[in-house]
Subunit: 334 residues, 2 copies
Amino acid sequence: MANIRTVSKLAGVSVATVSRTFSTPEAVSETTRKKVVKAAEKAGYRPNLLARNFRAKRSFAIMVLVPNIANPFFSRVISGIESEAQTRGYSILLGNTGGRPQRNAEYAGMVHTFQADGVIQLSAYDPFSGIEASKRPPLVNICECLDAQSSPQIQLDNAGAASSVIDHFVALGHRRIGVIQGPPDSPLTRDRLAGCQRAMQAHGLNLEPTAIAEGDFSTQSGFDAIDALLSLRKRPTAIFCFNDEMAIGAIRRIKDLGYDIPVDLSIAGFDDIAVSSFSVPSLTTIQQPAETFGRRAVEILCDMINTPGSVENARSTLPFKLIIRGSTGPAGQR
Amino acid sequence: MANIRTVSKLAGVSVATVSRTFSTPEAVSETTRKKVVKAAEKAGYRPNLLARNFRAKRSFAIMVLVPNIANPFFSRVISGIESEAQTRGYSILLGNTGGRPQRNAEYAGMVHTFQADGVIQLSAYDPFSGIEASKRPPLVNICECLDAQSSPQIQLDNAGAASSVIDHFVALGHRRIGVIQGPPDSPLTRDRLAGCQRAMQAHGLNLEPTAIAEGDFSTQSGFDAIDALLSLRKRPTAIFCFNDEMAIGAIRRIKDLGYDIPVDLSIAGFDDIAVSSFSVPSLTTIQQPAETFGRRAVEILCDMINTPGSVENARSTLPFKLIIRGSTGPAGQR
DNA sequence: TCCTAAAATGTAAACGGTTACACGCGCTCG
DNA sequence: CGAGCGCGTGTAACCGTTTACATTTTAGGA
C-alpha cells in the first residue's frame, strides 16, 4: 500500500509537502501541488485516516445510542443525524442498546478509547454520570431527555403536545377520556401524562386512574391494553395512545371487537410515523420534527467537540404539531 | 490522559508488559498482571484504540450501506448486523445512501482509507467494480443482490416466494391477478415478476401487462397505483404488492373507494414488516428472516476480513415463509 | 550444584501521518 | 545595498501502541 513516503519520493518532495498538499493545500504552491497530486494518483495513494486520526486524537465519528433501531420514529431521527454528520465530515457509529444500561455504558465507553468523539443519546440515560463536569465527553440527549442539566437536551414539549390532544378530544365533546401510556418510569410517559392531567383539569374534568392503561410503546401492547379500557363501567369515548404504534395496535383490537372508529371511539397517537397517514382510519397524532432532532443534535455535538466548554447545557424544545385525521370525531354519535 | 508509559512507570514494568497485560494476558505472569492492572486502574488508563487500530491497520468497523434506514425491513436487517457485529467486537458505521451511487461510492471508499474493514451492501450495487479481484476489499451483498459473482450474495428466493403468493391466490380461485411491482430496474422486481409469470403459466394463466402497475416500494406509490388497476376492463380480483408498505397504501386506497378486503379484492404483500399483522385486515405476506440476513452477512464478512481469500463468492439463499392472514380470501364472493 | 529449556520481561523499532521549527529564496523598503 | 519579511519547503520529532528480538529469570533434571 502506498504511503506518504512513497508519494514524496515519486514527486521529489518531502513528506511534509505531501501531507500539506492534502490537508492544507493552500500552503503549497500551485506547481508542487500538481506534481504531488499526479504522483499520488500514479501510486494509488489514499491517506491512511487511521494514522491521521490517531495523530489528531480524534476519530471523527459520532456514537449514536438508540434503544431500538426498528422503531420508525428513531429511524427518522437517525436519518437526520446521518445526513448532518455526513455533511460535516463525521461518520456515525450505531449502537442498538435495547434499553439495557450495560450495553449503553459499553458503547459510550468507546469515547474513552478514542473510537468516537462524542455521543448522541436517544434515551433518558446518562452514560457519563459520576464523571466530573470538566472531564465529561461530549454528549447530547435527544427525544427522551434527562431531568438533570449534565448535558444539552433537545426535546419536545411533551406535556404541551399531550394537552393539545386532550383539548382536541374535549372540543369534540369527549368527557370520558382514556390513555394508553408508556412505561411508567419513562420521562416521556411522565410528561405526557402530566400534560393530560393539566388539560383535563383546565376543562374541569378528571383523568380517572382506572382509565390509564399501561403499554410499552409496542404495537402489541396497544392491542393488549384495549380490553381493560373497554370493560370499564364508565367506558371512555376517546383514547389517547402515547405513540402511534400502540394506537395502531389499539385500532386493530377495537375493530376486532366490532366497534367503529371514530363513531364509537376516537383514537389519537403520538409521533406521526409514516404508516399513520395510511391506516384505516388515518390516525390523528402529534407530529414531531424527527429529522430536525437529529440535525440539531449533530450541530450541538460538533460544537462541543470542536470548542469544548463553549456550549452550555441548555434544554431546547422543538415544536410539535397536532395532525387531525380520521381517527377522531365528535363524541356521542351513538 | 494516561498512556501506556504512565502505567508502565507506575507499575515498575516495561511498556511491553503493560501492552501484553491487556492484549495477551496469558503471556504475563499472574503477579505482574495484577500489579499492572492495579496501576492502570489508579491512572485511569484506557488503551487508545485509535493507536492500536492504527498499528494493526484495522479499524474493527464494518460499513453498512443501506438505501434508506427508515425502511422497516432494513431496520430489522441492521438490527441483526449490529447484534452480530457487537458480539464479534466490531462496531458498525452507518451509511444512508438514498440509493445514490455517488454517496454509495463515497462511503465504500472509507474502506480504502482504513476507516472500515469491510462493507455490507443492502442494495444491488458493487462499489468496488473495476477493482481487480485480488485487491477488492471485503464486501457482502445482501437482500437485493448482484447478478455478478464479484462478492458473496445472500438473498431470498424472490421468484419462489412470488410464485407461492400466486399459487395461494390461484388456490383461492383467483384468475385475474394484478401486481404492483417495484422500480423496473431493481433485481427484486425482476425476480419477483419472473416468479409471478412462472406460477401463472404453470396454472395456465397469463399475467396481463396492463395488470402490472409500477410502484417504488413507498406506501404512497401503492396508494397511487390502485386506481389504474381497478379501472381495468378486466379488473383483477387479487393484487400482489411487491412489499408490505405498498400493500398498506393499496389497502387504504381500496377502502377509500368503498371496496371490502378480502371480499371484493384480495391483497398480499412482501416482507412481513411489524405493522402488517396489525393492519385491518391483517396482511397476507412473505416473511423474510431479516435479522438472519444481517447476522449471516457479518459472519461471512468477518471471515473475509480475517482470512482473505478463504471465502468464495458464493450465492446463498435464505428461506421464506408465506404468512396467510386476513387480506386474502376466496375469489368471486360477490 | 550446574546446565538447559522455557517462561517472563525488557528494549527499541516500527506503523503513517502531522507539524514545530529551521532554512533558503526572492521581494520590498528604507 | 542590506535588513526584514513572507512564502514555500524540508527535517525530524512525535502520537500510543504492538512486537521482533534480546535478555533475564525461573524451573526442573541430571
